[in-house]
């Protein structure tokens, strides 16, 4: 018997408001000059970190549903992903517009020569089509299978984002490696679930079909 889904009417508005709090705090602190001596670097780092947090949060929804059977995480997955894109965009715009002040030769050097910049930029590029096709209409237009295949790009974005973080630090890798471990656990849950689902499907097939499909080893 399926558990009755709780309506949780506050879930999406709550997440929407909560997701905007960090940027509100940043703007407030920037306006009051309380971000510290190197305010631009602090803002830049916080925006990048927030993008990673929301990206990994969006990748947590499906494994959480797998483990618990809850359906509410999947209902906020799209909004979490869009917040990741929102903060990644602010992170990139802050770097390009405020930190480097549109110094195009330097920015060109960044995306052609510097590994950690290249992977960060690629992570952002992965998120663009996902944000673009985040509407219900886009799912209908693409067809669910193609939409789903496209949105697997989020795994690439997650890995690139963690690599970007790890390659940026000077010596203390503890925080980036923690995020790498979290991402690894989330991927393992997905893989384990995929294997289980396949086994179950296989078990449901009739014996004759199974022997034809799998050959002598099956």
């Amino acid at each position: 018997m399926a558990p009755r889904r709780p309506p949780l009417p506050w879930l999406k508005p709550g997440l929407f408001a909560g997701g905007l709090i960090p940027v509100a705090v940043l703007v407030w602190r920037a306006a009051h000059r309380t971000l510290g001596a190197d305010a631009i670097a602090i803002g830049l780092n916080q925006l990048g970190y927030l993008a990673l947090v929301f990206l990994v949060a969006s990748l947590t929804c499906t494994p959480l549903k797998t483990l618990t059977g809850w359906t509410w995480p999947v209902r906020i997955r799209r909004m979490l992903g869009l917040f990741a894109f929102f903060y990644a965009s602010l992170h990139l715009l802050t770097y390009v517009g405020i930190d480097q002040q549109l110094d195009w030769p330097v920015l060109w050097g960044d995306v052609t020569q510097r590994k950690f910049m290249i992977v960060g930029f690629l992570a952002f590029c992965c998120l663009v089509p996902l944000a673009w096709t985040s509407t219900d209409a886009a799912v209908r237009r693409l067809g669910f299978q193609r939409w789903k295949a496209l949105h697997r790009l989020v795994y690439v974005a997650g890995v690139l984002a963690v690599v970007h973080f790890a390659w940026r630090v000077k010596s203390d890798l503890r925080v980036p490696l923690t995020w790498a471990a979290i991402l690894g656990v989330l991927f393992l849950i997905r893989i384990a679930d995929a294997i289980r689902t396949r086994r179950r499907k296989r078990a449901r097939q009739p014996v004759a079909a199974r022997s034809v499909d799998l050959g002598p080893a099956g």
Partner: protein, 174 residues
């Protein structure tokens, strides 16, 4: 960064302690005290922090032993009670909370060049023409300023210190 340090030339100290004529390098060591400096319990760097200068760099009048800034004694986080300031080099050469100074014939190891020899060398002279492997070092933003400015060779002290390095390839002076 433009900081009003309070200190005295390291050279005055060196002359007072009269090192042997065979001394070619000066090595510095930071306090090792995980009670006060909890990150020293981790392995993010090899502790204690060590730095070094060539003797002629160490006795240059711009090289300072510093005990204060902005008219006050050094706060702990800025390297109390005594730190080094070498204005034409990148900041990590300015070793903090010095507890030991030794005079050596051979070039001493330095913490960041142990950590990443490809990224950090012994000299660490400010050089906008040589990028750090992961980022450009061509421009900088001074604390309190919004616009970036072009970083100057030797941090603007070329007239005073460039002659220390004649005959050496500036590309090797990172």
């Amino acid at each position: 960064m433009v900081i009003p340090w309070l200190g005295f030339p390291l050279g005055d100290f060196i002359r007072r302690v009269e090192p042997l004529g065979s001394a070619k390098f000066v090595a510095f060591q930071t306090l090792l005290d995980p009670q006060q400096m909890p990150l020293q319990r981790t392995h993010i760097l090899e502790w204690p922090y060590v730095e070094g200068l060539r003797m002629d760099e160490a006795t240059h009048p711009l090289t300072l032993l510093v005990g204060g800034l902005y008219g006050k004694a050094l706060p702990s986080q800025n390297g109390a009670p005594l730190r080094l300031v070498v204005p034409w080099k990148y900041g990590f050469k300015g070793i903090k909370s010095i507890v030991k100074i030794s005079f050596l014939e051979k070039q001493p190891p330095t913490t960041w060049s142990i950590e990443g020899p490809r990224e950090y060398g012994f000299y660490a002279n400010v050089n906008p023409a040589v990028s750090h492997p992961r980022w450009s070092q061509a421009t900088e933003r001074r604390i309190g300023e919004f616009q970036r400015r072009k970083t100057l060779p030797f941090n603007g002290y070329g007239d005073e210190v460039a002659q220390l390095y004649t005959g050496l390839d500036p590309k090797t002076l990172y």
